[in-house]
Symmetry: C2
Subunit: 613 residues, 2 copies
């Protein structure tokens, strides 16, 4: 019986290895040797431990596998073939144009068995942590397996996830280190020193198991030990890159190289030839339907007095907590600044404190949303730069990441440039399918936060540290892609376009210009992406001059968004002036900083007067 | 004698505490309690261990202090007062507009005693590592002290630096953890569990020393033990936030809060009143002048055949290695892809392998340049997103960071979107004072890499995976801010603006249009920022239509740079069409991917025909 299982595990492993070679040789590129090192680990996992319904891959009852070492994609696809998810023909379309079998795993619609994109190393563990947290919230009893490479352990993001997993005491998270000792350029830092990886993991509070990663019985035992509910576990598996292939095994110089036809033939023969076995993974347990508890349905917060949009953001989340049991919020230990603390106060079990570790904030968020959670994360906008790669991979993961960056712009004042988000609009605009929002008052904030709950893709809301005046009536709607024209007249000679804190400055400038008969249209471009192109084109056509005012660097932000929208509309006629941050800020009061940057009301006014002179 | 020293250390510590309170209360904001926790640590350091010439702060003979917990800036400024670097009046200008005494430390010209900006947590140790590496290269025997907070240890970037420092066996790097157990929101994850921090550091190969961080004699002993040349050392100092002030010591709720006048008066009294002591730090040792060795002066690489610009980048570095002994190159374990391996082959002692850990790559680079090194760092452009916060802080540090992102755009082909840099131009353009370069051929690459050696601020060069044809003669010059007009005629009816790989596509499109009498100007905008605004304005004026073609997302890249340059010039008349990546790529050949994105020659040609129809 045991012998039969060992035979099956080894056969499936050989098949995974052979198929990894076949598809990469067919493609002419890819990572066969990185696949061979983890073939046994994957074989035993899907044959005997990963409880997974291939027909219902999105079921919350399924265990999850995250291939953090995304370059071993061939092994993952070969594994999907081995469990009957994809055909041999599909497998052999690896890396071809239009194929969902991409060079690195991506959860394109045709690949429902893949939850997240990988390929930027060191990110899988945080994603797995998020999945484990989602499973715990839902009480599914699911398990998450994250397969890492040894090279990627140098990434700090791994240790953020190690720390957070131990702190949150997740039981059902297992990471396997495929320690094949060879990186892209040559030997890794630590070779086969598995004790060292284990010691570190232990110092983070993890259980560890060290094994030979090609000994299927040992692998089986390790998985069984790892999934005992007693904190997260790391399996350090000593492996060989190119294992089982005489000319490639444990040889340097084979990273990211497909074998030639001749090499492949020999390798496949050495591995026992082509197989077409199919195994059915263990069945997932029945899970209880989610018990949602009592939902509150209090009315939305109402603001008639000045309030900081960051505070309105927190209050909006707290309000939504009662309507949306799927809502979870992640914090980078600044919840009292971003005001996610307001959410924590009403839904502490759905508030996840990740401490000062922005990469695991966004990584875990990606895992949470993959399992159906509506996940918000917030920190200072400046510090979201720390997680830009995670957000970028979130976009490739087709993840719905709802992000808030507080303390936008030079308007934070005294704290100085290290705390000022002045590149965030550029950063988020550049992502595929992103939505970028920048409300000017509390009412707009609440409406936009509410809308974000149902937005696909990466959505970003930018909030302001200081209080801003109430501009809108309760009940006003703020469609994504819309804008608000706050002042307009038949004789407008200029259009002032602001967002967030510069809406107030634009209005004040319009007030100052009015007595001299200079009629200024004022547009609140709260939706920076998509932007209200129609309103902007009309404005340029009707007023001939647009002044865009933003508390952000001059590159990539609102001004560029306006220019882009205007250019998309066809030939340009008119003038666009951008007022934005053009120098390196220091400290000062918010008013001083805006005046210094030339984005306060007086600067706007002076710019208009000069342009119309 | 020892009693006198203890008295002095305690007096200076009290002065640092009092001055931290005074300046923050005067400013009405800031972090006095985070300053009080490290006052003794700073006092003993500058009084007895930091060998530092206050009159010559940039001397390479000086030891270095990096305040990684940048929010304790008041303590740093108070320390600068205590060593006679700044006056009490300057100290009290903290956080005022125009003052160099900013809310967080920044090396503005008036603050030569500060080497780098801090305030985004977890970054100081990597910077310190870079400094230690520079000192080792120069043989100065200097020492680097990095003062960290305990909250910031959650940042993965800290552990990247721990790993790299141990790997590189730097002896002269000491980090002090100011373990005051209170973060911004409340208790840290691990409180006063110093053993835990020590155990982790040991698991990374560091020596550790645990002390009471308010016991000056113990601190003195710890520094003496730490600077023994036997690998990097961590001092875990148990401290109290707000130490010495009855109502604030070890109390939650005091983060980032200035005391009222009354509170300050009481606190100052408890700390023994205002002092105006000055101590002179130990003198730095004499250092030997750098021995540069024999310089090679080989001619620059010449390219007449197609070559990948990434390869030309590596060869340019290898060439420059012989001329520039100050040149160092950092790699994120992809040197065989970015071709920094070519530099490693000729100057292995100046090639710093940081493995797959982009944050410490850029952090260490910041430290290296602070001590006079001309430091290049390279990885895939996509993975520079991982270090965006470090680059952002580099800009605030006035650091000269020379970065190369390889594998630009969808043109990498089969590897798929996780490896494609399509947001990098947006990311780098948005930084203050940055230079963004994107050469189309090998000759341009060599010239631009050479120019980068002398460029201040953040400079970024984007390279292409595949070979591109030789466009330029050897000896052609490529001024920063310039462009090359490759095709032009009196009857140009359209201008094609490309950069990098799209220059070739634009030329091919122009060739295809010519037989139909459609004369297309072609501009190689190799300098994306600053961009050649004059050439672009002239082109719009003369041809009426500009088509910008870029292998980058449509937001924030070359197209936006062109629009911005045009808008800056005054009223716009004409049409600008942007061809860029607008959807989520998958895998395919480079040609297939460019066709899919609509940025290949045929797409350019079709766009022009339609626009002119």
């Amino acid at each position: 019986m045991m012998d039969d299982r060992i035979q099956l595990w080894n056969d499936i492993a050989a098949q995974i290895g052979v198929d990894s070679i076949r598809c990469t040789t067919e493609a002419g590129s890819g990572h066969p040797t990185s696949s061979l090192s983890c073939a046994h680990l994957l074989s035993v996992l899907v044959t005997s431990h990963l409880r997974f319904d291939v027909e219902d891959p999105k079921s919350l009852a399924n265990d999850r596998l995250v291939l953090s070492k995304g370059h071993a994609a061939p092994a993952l696809y070969a594994t999907l073939k081995a469990i009957g998810a994809i055909s041999d023909e599909q497998l052999l379309s690896l890396r071809r144009f239009g194929s969902p079998i991409q060079g690195h795993p991506a959860p394109v619609p045709e690949m429902p068995w893949i939850d997240v994109a990988t390929g930027s190393l060191g990110q899988g563990l945080a994603v797995g942590l998020g999945m484990a947290l989602a499973m715990r919230l839902d009480g599914t009893g699911g398990r998450v397996f994250v397969l890492m490479g040894d090279s990627e352990i140098a990434e700090g993001s791994v240790w953020e996830a190690m720390e957070a997993a131990a702190f949150h005491e997740v039981d059902d998270l297992v990471t396997i280190v495929d320690m094949n000792r060879l990186g892209q350029r040559g030997p890794t830092m630590h070779g086969w020193n598995g004790d060292l990886f284990a010691r570190r993991a232990q110092a983070y509070g993890w259980r560890t198991i060290e094994i030979d990663g090609h000994d299927v019985a040992a692998i089986d035992t390790a998985y069984a030990e790892a999934i005992v509910a007693d904190g997260p576990a790391m399996i350090v598996a000593r492996t060989e890159k190119g294992h089982g292939v005489s000319f490639a095994a444990d040889q340097d110089g084979w990273h990211g190289k497909a074998m030639s036809q001749e090499q492949a033939s020999q390798a496949i023969e050495e591995l026992g030839g082509i197989r077409s076995l199919t195994v059915t993974p263990p069945s997932p347990p029945d899970i209880k339907p989610l018990v949602l508890g009592e939902l509150r349905a209090e009315p939305a917060p109402v603001y008639t007095e000045p309030i900081a949009t960051r505070k309105a953001f927190g209050e909006a989340l707290a309000w939504l907590a009662g309507h949306r049991p799927d809502l979870v919020v992640l914090d980078g230990e600044v919840g009292n600044s971003t005001h996610t603390d307001d959410f924590a106060a009403v839904a502490p079990e759905r508030f996840l404190e990740m401490y000062i570790a922005e990469q695991v904030v966004v990584g875990a968020q990606t895992g949470l949303q993959a399992l159906g959670k509506t996940a918000f994360a917030a920190t200072f906008g400046a510090f979201l730069t720390r997680a830009y790669d995670q957000v970028r991979m979130g976009a490739i993961s087709r993840a719905d990441l709802r992000l808030c960056g507080s303390h936008a712009g030079v308007s934070i004042g005294e704290d100085g440039p290290s705390q000022m988000a002045v590149e965030d609009l550029a950063m988020f605009r550049a992502l595929h399918g992103s939505t970028v929002l920048y409300p000017a008052d509390g009412t707009a904030t609440v409406q936009l936060v509410s809308a974000m709950c149902d937005l696909p893709g990466i959505s970003y809301i930018r909030t302001t540290r200081e209080a801003t005046p109430a501009l809108y009536e309760t009940g006003e709607s703020f469609p994504i892609g819309g804008s608000k024209t706050l002042r307009t007249g038949d004789d407008d000679v200029v259009t002032l376009v602001g967002a967030g804190v510069t809406v107030r400055e634009s209005l004040a400038a319009a007030d100052a210009l009015a007595p001299d008969g200079i009629s200024a249209r004022v547009i609140d471009a709260y939706s920076v992406k998509p932007i209200d192109a129609d309103a902007l084109r009309r404005a340029l056509e009707q007023t001939g001059l647009i002044v865009v005012v933003e508390d952000h660097r001059v590159e990539g932000g609102l001004g560029d968004a306006v220019l882009d929208a205007l250019a998309e509309g066809g030939p340009l006629t008119g003038r666009v002036i951008k007022l934005a941050v053009r120098d390196m800020p220091g400290s000062g009061t918010p008013d001083e900083m805006r005046a210094w940057a030339g984005i306060d009301a007086r600067s706007v006014e002076a710019t208009v007067r000069e342009a119309l002179h």
